[in-house]
Assembly symmetry: C2
Homo-oligomer: 101 residues x 2
DNA sequence: CGTGTAAGGAATTCTGACACG
DNA sequence: CGTGTAAGGAATTCTGACACG
C-alpha cells in the first residue's frame, strides 16, 4: 500500500469546480478558508485544490451557515473531539502549574 | 438516487493535475484525446475536465504505449465488446442488403 | 506516429480593498 | 459578520503550427 488515499481525499479540484459542486460562490469558499474552516492544497502557482471530502465539508458548512450559525461556532464545533482534548489538557496543566506558584 | 455517479466518474480534474497524477505531459494527454482514446468534459470556457476514471484510463494508455502499442490499436482494442457488436451488426445488415440487389 | 516547443490569446484564479450592514 | 464586486496581475489552459523522425 504505497498510496492509501482514495479518490475522496485527493486534492485535485479547482475552486471553480468546487463552486459549481457546492453552489457556493468562490468568495464564500475563500472566506471559509480565511476563517479556518477548510484547508485546500495549493499548486506551485498558488491556485487552490480541494478534495471531494473538502467539497462535502463545504456543503456541510453551507448548511450550518443557513441555520444561522457563525463561522466562529462552526470552527469551534469542529475542534470538539481530539483537538480540544489536547488543548484542554495543556490548559489544565498550565492552570495547575500556575496554582503551584 | 438522484445522483448515482460516485467520485470516480465526476469530471472535475484539470489537465494540469491530470498530468501530475499520470506522469504524462499535457501534450500527450491532448493528443490521446485527438486520437479518440479519452473524452474529457469541457468547462464553459473550454478547459478540459477529467474524472479519476479518466486518469486511470490514461495510465492504462500510457502502459500500452510503453509496450509499443499505437494509438490506433489501443482505440481498436477498446471497441472490442459492445461497440463493435452494433457496428458489425450494421455492417452485416448492409452486406445482406446489398446482396439482395 | 508521437511528442516537444514557442506563440498569442483566452479563461481561470489570486490578493487586497471598498461597500453594505 | 459574511459576501458582492471592480482592479490588476499572475498562473493555467487552449489551439494551430513547425520540428523531428
Amino acid at each position: 500500500m504505497a498510496d492509501a488515499s482514495s479518490y475522496k481525499d485527493k486534492k485535485v479540484i479547482g475552486i471553480g469546480i468546487a463552486s459549481e459542486l457546492t453552489g457556493l460562490s468562490e468568495r464564500q469558499i475563500r472566506y471559509y478558508e480565511e476563517r479556518k474552516l477548510i484547508y485546500p492544497d495549493r499548486s506551485k502557482g498558488g491556485t487552490r485544490k480541494y478534495s471531494f471530502a473538502d467539497v462535502e465539508r463545504l456543503v456541510d458548512i453551507a448548511n450550518k451557515m443557513e441555520d444561522g450559525m457563525q463561522t466562529f461556532e462552526i470552527r469551534k464545533e469542529e475542534m470538539k473531539q481530539s483537538d480540544i482534548r489536547s488543548k484542554m489538557l495543556r490548559g489544565q496543566l498550565n492552570a495547575a502549574f500556575k496554582m503551584r506558584k
